[in-house]
């Protein structure tokens, strides 16, 4: 058993009371036992606007991520551009510059965009038909993403 602590802090002057400060210890599903596996921090370089799988459900480490288990996914756009972004989604990547169409038919759905320096951390359930993590750069010039999965 390992102990993995994630701490988020969001400070803002949008309102006087907007502040987020929270920590979580990543645990196995329904358990007080810590997650103990990781992909390590991976880095991937993109040079086209093709939408591709960053992680594919049922393949590689994702084969160990199931509905009855716990997993956390961290992704960061390590660029510094304020105009170039990655679009992150759940489901089938198109493999081309035209993204798979958003739909609630369990094929693909867009989550959001990561501009330079943006990061996200989400739970991941890789077993549904939308279990793939798809990524699409906004430009064909070199862009880099880092990602890491913690799982059981």
């Amino acid at each position: 058993m390992a102990t993995i602590d994630a701490t988020i802090s969001v400070t803002s002057d949008i309102t006087s009371s907007l502040s987020i400060s929270n920590s979580m210890t990543m645990k196995k599903a329904g358990s007080t036992t810590g997650l103990e596996l990781t992909t390590g921090l991976a880095r991937r370089t993109f040079t086209s606007t093709n939408q591709v799988d960053l992680l594919t459900a049922g393949s590689g480490i994702a084969a160990d991520v199931t509905a009855s288990k716990s997993a956390k996914l961290y992704v960061k756009n390590v660029g510094s551009s304020t105009s170039d972004y990655f679009t992150i989604g759940l489901g089938n990547s198109s493999g081309s510059g035209t993204a798979t169409v958003n739909d609630n038919d369990a094929t693909f759905f867009e989550l959001g965009r990561l501009y330079g320096g943006d990061w996200m951390i989400i739970p991941w359930i890789a077993t549904s038909t939308t279990g793939d993590i798809a990524i699409q750069p906004s430009v064909a010039t070199t862009m880099n993403a880092e990602y890491m999965v913690f799982f059981e």
Binding site: T7, L18, S70, T82, I88, D103, G112, R113, G117, P123
Partner: protein
């Protein structure tokens, strides 16, 4: 112009052979700009007593184009203390994952329209695993809010 900074640290002394330490921080800007995002729903604290799947941002107008191509960030935390209790988080019906007791997520949200026009801003949904009562917190920080017209 507002300034909002989001930071994350991930630490573990025993996950891998050497200590793991990851730290990142960024300012939240309007899409494609260096101007800070300036609107928020504020933090909601909710006690849910049914396993019904709900939209957690119900006041945002369906079909609004105010969000298109803009920047929105979502924070959700399961405040339960029972490790067996979780919430299933979905976007427009597609499962993202489960937040167990104490877990949080932080993610961008495009509020994209689906091809069938059934979920016009890609609803973020939450379903508790039990009906015995679970506490949650959630918040959106964004640009371009549009609210429904009163009827």
């Amino acid at each position: 112009m507002a300034t909002t900074t989001a930071s994350l640290t991930i630490n573990s002394s025993d996950l891998v052979g050497d200590a793991l330490s990851l730290s990142t921080s960024n300012e939240l800007n309007k899409a494609g700009t260096t101007t800070g995002i300036d609107q928020t729903t504020g933090m909601t604290k909710a006690y849910l007593t049914a396993t019904t799947n709900i939209d957690i941002f119900p006041t945002l107008i369906e079909g609004s184009m105010a969000f298109a191509g803009k920047s929105s960030w979502v924070y959700i935390c399961n405040k339960s203390l029972d490790e067996t209790e979780y919430a299933t988080i979905t976007i427009s019906g597609n499962v993202i994952g489960r937040l167990y007791a104490g877990d949080f997520l932080w993610m961008p949200w495009s509020q994209s329209e689906d091809s069938a026009g059934e979920n016009l801003h890609g609803d973020i949904e939450l379903a508790p695993s039990v009906a015995t009562g679970m506490w949650f917190e959630w918040c959106m920080i964004n640009e371009g809010t549009e609210y429904p017209t009163a009827v």
